[in-house]
Amino acid sequence: MAHLSPDRLADSALGIDDPLTAAEQNHLASCAECRDELGELSRIAHLSRQPERVAPQLVPTDAIWQSIQVQLASQATAPATTEPSPEPPPSAPTIAELPRRTPKLRSWFLVAAAAVFGLIIGAGITTVAVRDRVEVTSSIPLDALPGQTGRGTAELIRDRGRPELRVQIDAPPTRDRYREVWLINADGQRMYPLGVLPDDGRATYPLPPALAGQLQGFNIVDVSIEPYDGNPAHSRESQVRGVLPT
């Protein structure tokens, strides 16, 4: 006889409707294909009766996501490690500091990423005395988002002790629109507007008081293109972006 229909196989696996006829059972005995299919359907029906639920609230996604960003950022800027400074300045995050902020992520993976990252930051930092009492804490590239052009840098600086973000981008302003600089949380939800970016693409902004000590996860520097529509929210159109080290 012909193969058993998908419905008959499903019925048998689910134990519904009429039991298999003698002819169907004979076919099963001689047809490996139908037997395998019935076996797999029966296995699925059996396993489905023992639910194993996902518990989203158990997942520390923020910490994991931040760690992923650190690793991806360290890969993206990896060429900077070609000439690492031999001794990273003390303000660079050390291997010992990173695990403290994400206490459960102890993999060698993360430690290695932190080590590489430390070198990058070391390379990116200038322990400046170039400008009067302005110290550059970290410096990152800002890269264009898909479909956008432009690039730039963002630097965390201390100007006579005051924490500030200095932004410089090389991208043409868009006609009839203006640009705004934001610090976005790694959760992608919360953000601080730092201020409008002048057309020459250079500006320095004081950090919000809540972030003066630590960035608290608001380590994504984002430059958005805003229409003159009176809406203070992020337009959700970004030109360039970069991730500050945590």
Partner: protein, 220 residues
Amino acid sequence: MTQSSHAQIVVEPGRVRVISVVDEARLEPQVVGEYIDWRAATETELSIGFARGDEACLQEVFRRLAPLIYTIAYRTLDSSSDGEEITQEVFVSAWRARDNYQAEKGSLSGWLIGITRHRIADRQRARGRDLRLVQAVTNTTDQVQPETLSTLVDRIVLTEEIGRLPHPRGTILQLAFWEGRSYPQIAEQLDLPLGTVKSHARRALRHLRTQLAEVTSWPT
């Protein structure tokens, strides 16, 4: 009636644009210039954005799938710290290897779960070495055989899929599988003809079979 989502996605050099999405169950993705609201994207749209290297898309993939990946790793390895490490390893390595992902070969979630299986198997092998070492030293051999990795992963994936089935199909399977109701009982409870209930159950089972095959088909 249920209408499946229909998205026209225009892929051009340097951008992906979702032109229109027809789906009664959700809002359309907001298209603002080049920006795409990935939170409203379908899995197909997400997998295209992922393959193209949009980091905002990666974040949305993470938001949707990290709990599933974490649960699989946590339950199979019985350790929250291992679960967290595997989860981050899976997303980092998937992102780096995104060129290997081919949407026509299967779903993005299936691909990620495939990577997860491999990472867990590696971790279990490493543990096995440690365990054999301990046994060699302490001369103990008693070992509780844990549920096999693939069975546990299948159960987690099936639970997730059953939970995502639309009503009434999902409700019918949940009542049948999770609450042990008979099909006549379900028909009465949902006020549906018995034949309709059985027909939903058959199709749902075949759907689960397809989904599971997708998850296990990636060689990685």
